[in-house]
Amino acid sequence: MTLYDLAFGPFAEFGFMRRALAGCLALALGCGPIGTFLVIRRMSLMGDALSHAVLPGAALGFILGGLSLPAMSLGGVGAGLVVALLSGLVTRLTPLREDASFAAFYLISLALGVLLVSTHGSNVDLLHLLFGSILAIDNAALVLIGAVASMSLLSLAVIYRPLVVECFDPGFLRAVGGRGGLVHTVFLALVVLNLVAGFQALGTLMAVGLMMLPAAAARFWVHELWMLSAASSALAFASGFLGLLLSYHLDLPSGPSIVLVAGLAYFASVLCGSRDSLRTLYLQRRQPAA
């Protein structure tokens, strides 16, 4: 078997692999910049929380509509937005910090989601919802993922400037009347949409992996915001490509495979990235002294 067969054979041969790859490309385009902002705003845990929050909604959609994409997606978006709004409300009205209130809501929704699926479906269904399946990416799913990616990039283009200022100096944005609250809400909605787009392929538990890991890894290579976004997208797509191959050749679930490849990229970046990595911090410091 040649390298070409290993790397491109599955995609040349099978339509579902091509669709999965196209899905990964679209996901990577949306998740790159959004993950970058999550990392930069120190909201990584919030992304995690929202991804769990999507589950009961998707489960509800699954119970009402079976394995139907529109039903599960609508349910997922609804549940994600409800959790985002409720935890925002709890943060504003009580002294509880935002990360804690998000954690509370996502634990509740995760439990609720698992309960719903396990009482109304089989274990296979539950595994499918939690960890995704490349086979699930049909044309409709591909259109959904592509639409979400396009909308994310367009919306980000509109809110880019206030979002940057909201991350960098929220007090300034408040003082000049820049509507930081609105920007924050739109951004959270984009996070939810991208998580829902990702859960078909990756599952609800893994969807956030393609968002956070490449963004966290990119930080060890480049500095500027647009470079971070571009590098995150590139890393996310590369992880998708390699993860799909792994999943195909070794017969592994696609979600964990893709996320594990992204995880490997993250570890490699922590160890030998060009900025602030362990290599630059500890190996190069010794050299001038020697």
């Binding site: 400037r161 940057v164 408040r174 003082a175 820049g178 915001l225």
Partner: protein
């Protein structure tokens, strides 16, 4: 400079609460057009809260805050350090350009004139040539100069500064005080929270001495009379047991002011209940 005729703010019986605790109580008075006022007082006296009230990010629980004659420039406000993400990947010139916010908003283009105004402002704070530096590489003093350049670009009729000199070295604070004085000469209205009473006496014609309520508000020499400072300290003792961060740090100017509690917070630290 379009905003050269200063704005005014009138306070009528204003009460402000922060996190549910009363912080400013029944304050009345006026930052009149073109005035240059220092706001001083012990920790927890409500100085920062008053600033937030005037900017409009905090609504008074009672009374009225009436801005007047602000024009298009609005209020330029420099909050305390804590809220700014210093490691954010943004360059010096981009930070200064944010001062144009009211002209560029969410999506409008940054024109060449706006860029040149930002570069002139950088030169005015002594940072010409720093345009492309990431802000993470600046010292505390340099960063404060960048924020002052952003204030210049905002071109506002009313400028509010919350502890603008808290974390900077002597030379920077002299330069920044000279900038504040130049804004005063241009006719802008300026109010600043300060801790160094020598600086207040040297540069600020008017002073508001605050201890949750107004202790004195008028010409600096009269407002900072020893009996007023003593009264501010006595008032502060009524709330200093509330458990917020009222820890003392040695103040450079305390020697001649026996009895006045040290109001210098540790640099960069936010005032807990203020």
């Amino acid at each position: 400079m379009s905003g050269s005729s200063g704005g005014a703010i009138v306070l009528r019986n204003v009460t402000l609460a922060y996190d549910g605790h009363p912080a400013v109580h029944r304050l009345s008075g006026e930052f009149s057009r073109g005035s240059l006022t220092a706001i001083v007082g012990p920790n927890g006296a409500g100085k920062s809260t008053l600033m937030k009230g005037m900017v409009g990010v905090l609504r008074p629980t009672d009374g009225l805050i009436q801005p007047d004659g602000l024009g298009g420039g609005g209020i330029a406000y420099l909050p305390q350090h804590a809220e700014i993400e210093r490691r954010f990947p943004i360059s010096v010139i981009q930070t200064v350009l944010l001062g144009h916010w009211r002209r560029i908003g969410w999506t409008r283009r940054v024109t060449r004139e706006l860029c040149e105004a930002a570069q002139r402002a950088l030169a005015a704070v002594g940072l010409a040539g720093f345009e492309r530096r990431p802000i993470g590489t600046l010292s505390a003093g340099q960063f404060q100069r960048v924020l002052f350049a952003r204030l210049i670009v905002q071109d506002a009729a009313l400028i509010l500064l919350d502890e603008p000199l808290a974390a900077v070295d002597w030379r920077t604070s002299e330069d920044l005080l000279r900038l504040i004085a130049s804004w005063h000469r241009e006719g802008r209205t300026v109010a600043a929270v300060l801790h160094d009473l020598d600086q207040v006496r040297a540069y600020f014609p008017d002073t508001l001495l605050l201890a949750r309520e107004c202790v004195a508000w008028g010409p600096t020499r009269e407002a900072l009379m020893p009996q007023n400072l003593r009264r501010a300290r006595d008032l502060s003792e009524t709330w200093s047991g509330e458990g917020e961060n009222h820890r003392s740090a040695p103040g450079p100017w305390r020697a001649g002011l026996a009895g006045y509690p040290d109001p210098l917070p540790a640099s960069g630290e936010r005032e807990g209940s203020a």
